[in-house]
């Protein structure tokens, strides 16, 4: 690659970068910052029970109980392995919608992820 070609490429990259920044600056900012993407499992409860996130946000469930729990979507979109104390499970929803879920060991434990 000659010197000229290198220079050209660099400026092309800079341009792309600048454009990307400009576009995200125009669309991203004023919307509400995404709510926490963490769900804590404590005292046989999912907290928060309803979590609203944007599509593409990774949601992490962490078990703080002394007893194992699972995170299983009612429509079987996602299903964790049994989570022992301090173990986590993540799921990244890509499609907007409401995802109900529960603990398959203690089905009284239910929660909801609303994906915008």
């Amino acid at each position: 690659m000659n010197r000229q070609g290198w220079k050209l490429e660099v400026s092309a990259l800079a341009l792309t970068l600048a454009l990307t920044l400009a576009v995200s600056a125009a669309t991203a900012p004023r919307e509400r910052a995404p709510v926490s993407s963490e769900v804590k499992i404590d005292n046989f409860t999912f907290e928060p029970q309803t979590l609203t996130v944007k599509a593409g946000t990774t949601v992490t469930w962490t078990n703080r109980d002394d007893i194992p729990h699972t995170v299983v979507s009612t429509d079987l979109v996602f299903k964790s392995k049994p989570l022992d104390t301090d173990e986590s499970f993540t799921f990244t929803p890509t499609k907007p919608g409401t995802y109900g879920y529960f603990c398959s060991l203690h089905p009284k434990m239910t929660g909801k992820i609303i994906v915008q």
């Binding site: 046989f44 409860t45 002394d66 203690h106 089905p107």
Partner: protein, 319 residues
């Protein structure tokens, strides 16, 4: 109503040493050792130091253990191995040698092969060599319960249910921890209910029935999931029998209830206690002192009194 400190009985209406109103207090008596006898579907109870207790010595005796949660290692019990061993010792020290054992589930904590291995190994030290299992929700965490069924349910049907006869008593092991639905309770499911209806159809009304399953088959405390959604259907098939005893685990404490011809009884865990319904934020393990722990764990002995269709259910702690 309370038990007198001397061990005598307050409500002895028939002057036979039997407290007919005392059965609901069996739970409170567990620490001291209480005896509950079913005769013709009516549960009676008396303290173990009462001479009438001798009548419970019978032709069939077995032991129920439950919720050994092998693999659990947190407060209040970092050593569930030694408490299960203590349960085996307790069984070996019973005055009447039990013929077999029932384990009403949550054998393991996380359905791991080494957890099941450990329990099997420890139970080998107990005198009764035969153990009948039903799964708890902790035993079917892997592969929809396949490892459980391969180990314990070789002669069972469906998810692991089966029945057998011993000394004229018909035993039915049910599974109510599979396919649980969001927001719901324990479930038996249509297939198992159909099987149950067929299983008891041919039996005579005088056959004593013992049903055992992990989650209680009555609504102990639905807010904590302590009940089975379709248990009423199952019990409707058992209405014709004079004596039905239902033995459960899951709630890690003893509890009794009598409804018509049916006596319900839950056993202690050998691993850790759980709070009384509604007395804590959640049904998680109750953290108690090391000194207190064994007084809240235990085993249950059941015997069929000779010649009188009477089942005696005795709880004793691991102290």
């Amino acid at each position: 109503m309370k038990r007198e400190t001397s061990g005598s009985i307050r409500f002895d209406h028939n002057h036979d040493g039997i407290d007919r109103r005392g059965f609901l207090k069996c739970m409170a008596w567990a620490g001291a050792g209480a005896l509950c006898v079913v005769e013709g579907g009516v549960l009676k109870s008396f303290a173990l130091n009462n001479p009438a207790a001798k009548r419970a010595k019978g032709q069939l005796s077995f032991v129920q253990i439950s919720d050994s949660h092998m693999g659990f290692n947190k407060p209040a019990n970092p050593d569930v191995v030694s408490t299960l061993k203590a349960a085996a010792d307790k069984i070996n020290a019973l005055p009447v040698a039990p013929e077999f054992m029932l384990h009403t589930g949550d054998i393991s904590h996380l359905s791991k092969a080494e957890e099941f291995d450990n329990v099997d190994q420890i139970l080998k030290a107990a005198r009764p060599k035969q153990v009948f299992f039903v799964p708890g929700e902790h035993d079917v965490l892997e592969d929809d319960g396949k490892p459980y069924r391969e180990r314990y349910g070789k002669n069972a049907l469906g998810d692991g249910w089966y029945s057998f006869d011993k000394n004229g008593v018909h035993f039915i092991g049910l599974v109510n921890v599979m396919n649980l639905k969001a927001g719901g309770l324990g479930t038996l499911g249509t297939e198992q209910l159909k099987w149950l209806e067929k299983d008891v159809k041919h039996l005579s009304h005088s056959t004593p029935i013992i049903v055992f399953a992990h989650i209680p088959l009555w609504a102990v405390y639905p807010d904590w999931g302590w009940g089975t959604s379709d248990s009423a259907q199952a019990l409707s098939y058992l209405k014709k029998f004079g004596s039905v005893t239902v033995l459960n685990g899951h709630i890690h404490q003893t509890m009794q209830k009598v409804e018509g011809n049916v006596t319900f009884h839950t056993a202690c865990s050998t691993a850790f206690p759980q709070p009384k319904p509604g007395t804590a934020a959640s049904p998680g393990p109750m953290k108690v002192s090391a000194e207190q722990l064994r007084s809240l764990l235990g085993i249950t002995e059941v015997s069929l009194a000779h010649g009188r269709h009477a089942l005696a259910v005795t709880d004793s702690t691991l102290e």
